[in-house]
Amino acid sequence: MSHETWQEQLRRGGLDLAILLTVSAGPRYGLAIIQHLEDFTDLVVTEGTIYPILGRLTREGLLEAEWVEGEAPHPRKYYKLTRQGAKRLTNMKAEWREFAGKIGRLMDAAERSGHAPL
């Protein structure tokens, strides 16, 4: 597996969690979610591909979508976390922390052993 493929898989794995985290603070519309992700991460490579993911998370019942008119010159579609989404997010956060912790410990152990590459 190339380094780019590995990075891509890592990015993809984190994207659902990042979107749910972004919406957990309160309802946000598509562009606001993208901007928030761009502020904190480099997970968004092509902005337009975030919308299908939002659609999937909505179909899975993790997000709820609602069009709001009159707030801006154009309508905005807001997404908010559902109860099921909040539950999933709690599990995902715990799993992510556990995973990152284990990898971190593994890296520490490898660095402590200090073997030079062959």
């Binding site: 990015r11 562009l31 092509t46 337009g48 591909t49 919308y51 993911i53 659609g55 905005r76």
Partner: protein
């Protein structure tokens, strides 16, 4: 930034291509909603842009960040058709999802070919089971030079050496259903794998 007529045409052209692409695989109400959301995104970006160095460059940058309409449509397609196929495991969504991947990816093309061969083989075996009671002499195990070579049907019979009684029916039925289920499971597994590695 306030768009000129040329800028408006460019935005409308982008949305038109996106809509046309989405219409090929999504229901009309979903397409309307998706295009409306993407338009909202574009309008919002345009509003907050300062129009530098000029309108055309600023607009092209916004659309480039959004991604080419075909790329965005493909992302919708991958998310929707593949998810539906994996979730339901039904024949129509699986065929639709593999069909879509077949025209956009190499692995999808080979999967579609395999799927076609699998479904055709299953259909042929089941057809043999159905035809056997109607044309008992025309359906059976074909012998050439005294050796069994195939299970099949001959119309007209001619000098074909077909043997076998009604036991051909359960065998053909079993083979047809087994191939069908195997093809279906293989396709679903392929789509699950595809879903795991899809590019967002």
């Amino acid at each position: 930034m306030r768009l000129s007529d040329v800028g408006e045409s460019r935005v409308n052209g982008y949305l038109f291509v996106l809509e046309r692409s989405l219409k090929s695989f999504l229901p009309a109400d979903v397409v309307r909603d998706a295009v409306r959301e993407i338009e909202s995104h574009v309008r919002e970006r345009i509003e907050s842009a300062d129009g530098s160095p000029n309108e055309r460059a600023a607009l092209e940058q916004i659309l480039a960040q959004l991604g080419p309409p075909l790329r965005v449509a493909q992302a919708y397609s991958t998310e929707r058709t593949v998810d539906e196929a994996v979730a339901t495991g039904n024949l129509v969504p699986i065929v639709r999802a593999v069909g879509h991947l077949a025209v956009s990816t190499v692995s999808g093309f080979f999967m579609a070919l395999w799927l076609l061969i699998g479904y055709l083989s299953a259909f042929c075996f089941i057809a043999l089971a159905v035809l056997k009671p109607i044309f008992p002499a025309n359906v059976g195990v074909q012998f050439i030079g005294g050796y069994p070579v195939a299970l099949g049907a001959h119309f007209p019979l001619g000098d074909a050496d077909l043997r076998g009684g009604y036991w051909v029916i359960p065998i053909a039925l079993f083979a047809g259903l087994a191939i069908f289920v195997g093809t279906q499971r293989g396709a679903r597994r392929f789509l699950s794998w595809w879903r795991e590695r899809r590019v967002s």
